[in-house]
């Protein structure tokens, strides 16, 4: 899942979602996380994703949101291709179509769609929270829930340092290129990493002294520059999140987690189109990855 990070930051706005308390939003993100792992019903998970897309519309963050969702595309294509021919599902499998030497299984399509819908629903709800919440508001709210201040500080500082270090890497690599040094491939790893890390360590020393001089770690009441209010509507939304989770878990326990793996039948034509489209995109991604490595 690793790769080039697409920076996701808060998209300014004044929608209902933006104004909600960060903890109320976090409750919904965690609820969707638990629900997504509790069932493999693709229809339920797709419905959950559609609700999430409704929230994206409500928050007015479509442009930035769709850019970040593109990260899922390579994973989605590989996932459909692999699952259709080798399902992560107990045997026996039911063959429904063939493409060349490969047999596509009913359980594979079911499993592929459910795993993809699971990742999509979790990502949509998490991105809605991240893109409508100021990180400082989230950390202030978490500290009110007695999450250790040191932990909040380290997480907030990590997020602040990323753009700074990315800028420094750009500077270091430009300097290396201007000296005629190799700028791609394994030979460029040490000349790129070590100066950036050494610079970061100097920053650590300065920050450490700065924290010492401000009595970091001392006991007593801490104040925050940003104040986060908790309104009645935040309580309602938060409690609704817990209630939704409880209802879903109760339904899953009574219905075998809405399992439809033996009853939801996919037409062979749909399976072939789905797998063929995923395979074409998969081969395209792999070819472009190989091309980039060869050029380096």
């Amino acid at each position: 899942m690793q790769g080039v990070a697409v920076p996701v930051s808060m998209v300014a706005g004044n929608s209902f979602i933006h104004r909600l308390n960060p903890i109320a939003k976090l409750v919904w993100v965690l609820a969707v996380l638990v629900i997504s792992f509790a069932t493999r019903n693709p229809l339920f998970l797709i419905a959950l994703s559609i609700v999430g897309l409704g929230l994206v519309t409500m928050a007015g963050i479509w442009r930035q949101f769709s850019r970040v969702m593109l990260i899922l595309l390579p994973v989605a294509t590989s996932l459909i291709v692999f699952q259709s021919v080798a399902p992560a599902f107990p045997q026996p499998w039911t063959p429904i179509a063939t493409i060349g030497p490969f047999t596509i299984y009913q359980e594979g399509i079911y499993s592929g769609l459910s795993l993809l819908a699971r990742a999509t629903s979790m990502t949509i709800f998490a991105l809605v929270m991240i893109m409508t919440t100021h990180p400082s508001d989230l950390f202030t709210s978490l500290s009110r829930l007695h999450v250790p201040y040191v932990l909040n500080f380290m997480l907030a500082m990590t997020l602040q340092l990323i753009p700074v270090l990315q800028r420094e890497i750009g500077v270091v690599m430009s300097a290396q290129k201007s000296r005629g040094m190799k700028s791609t491939g394994f030979g460029a790893v040490i000349p790129s990493f070590v100066p950036v890390f050494a610079g970061a360590i100097e920053r650590v020393q300065q920050l450490s002294i700065s924290l010492e001089s401000r009595a970091f770690g001392s006991s007593g009441h801490k104040t925050s520059y940003r104040q986060v209010a908790v309104r009645p509507v935040d309580w309602v939304v938060g409690i609704a999140g817990f209630a939704f989770l409880a209802v879903c878990i109760a339904v899953f326990l009574n219905t075998g987690a809405l399992d439809m793996s033996r009853t939801l039948i996919f037409p062979p034509a749909l399976a072939i189109v789905l797998v063929a489209a995923a395979a074409v995109l998969f081969v395209g991604f792999i070819a472009s990855a190989i091309w980039v490595v060869i050029r380096a």
Binding site: S78, L79, T123, M154, M157, L161, G187, V196, L211
Partner: protein, 235 residues
Amino acid sequence: MAAVTTAGSAPRRRSQRIPLTYVVTLVPVAAALNIVGGYIVGLLHLPIFLDMIGTAVVAIVLGPWWGALVGVITNTGSAFLSGPIGLPFALCNVVGALVWGYGVRSVGMGRSIPRFFILNLIVAVAVSLTAVPIYVFVFGGATGHFSDLMTAAFLAMGQNLIVSVFSSNILVSLADKIISGFVALAIIEALPENLTADLPLIKAAPMRTVAIAAGGVVIGIAVAIVSVILTSNAS
């Protein structure tokens, strides 16, 4: 072979000398560097991850559990950058930190180049064993990475999904962890002496040598995997 800098004093005494504020600032810097490692890999067009270098540095210098914290913060911070799909891989980062940290600080695997090389191989295997169940049961075997090509090839050879994902993941992981480990070693050399004076650690090897050794190991393992698969298919 270069000499070990210093050996001896207990890890507890060393970490007690490092002020809390220094630790509190070094951990997020290392986590940020892990995240930015993915960005550098993209710029350098490398088919590996390099997202555990900060974890290795902190696990070796401050201790395994501080390294584990770096791992957790790395993946939590990544969730703010690219969504929550990378969160389960915090476990891989934690496992890597514990093996690197205890390996160097308790078992003395950093005292010579061959020992450190073997430690990185152990890290690669441990991380792969942790990552493969996550890839298979959470992401259906997909990684969205170059290694998916190898997974597809192993599937086409008739292997099941778990074996295919492990075979492709271990090849990438071996190259990644060997290079990450030796880059971490080079970075530790550049750290202030008060942090590293008592570490039982060898000096860094030239990167070209490390890349050649890593390439040799990866090719050797790849040949071994393919020959095992072909033999099992034939029988």
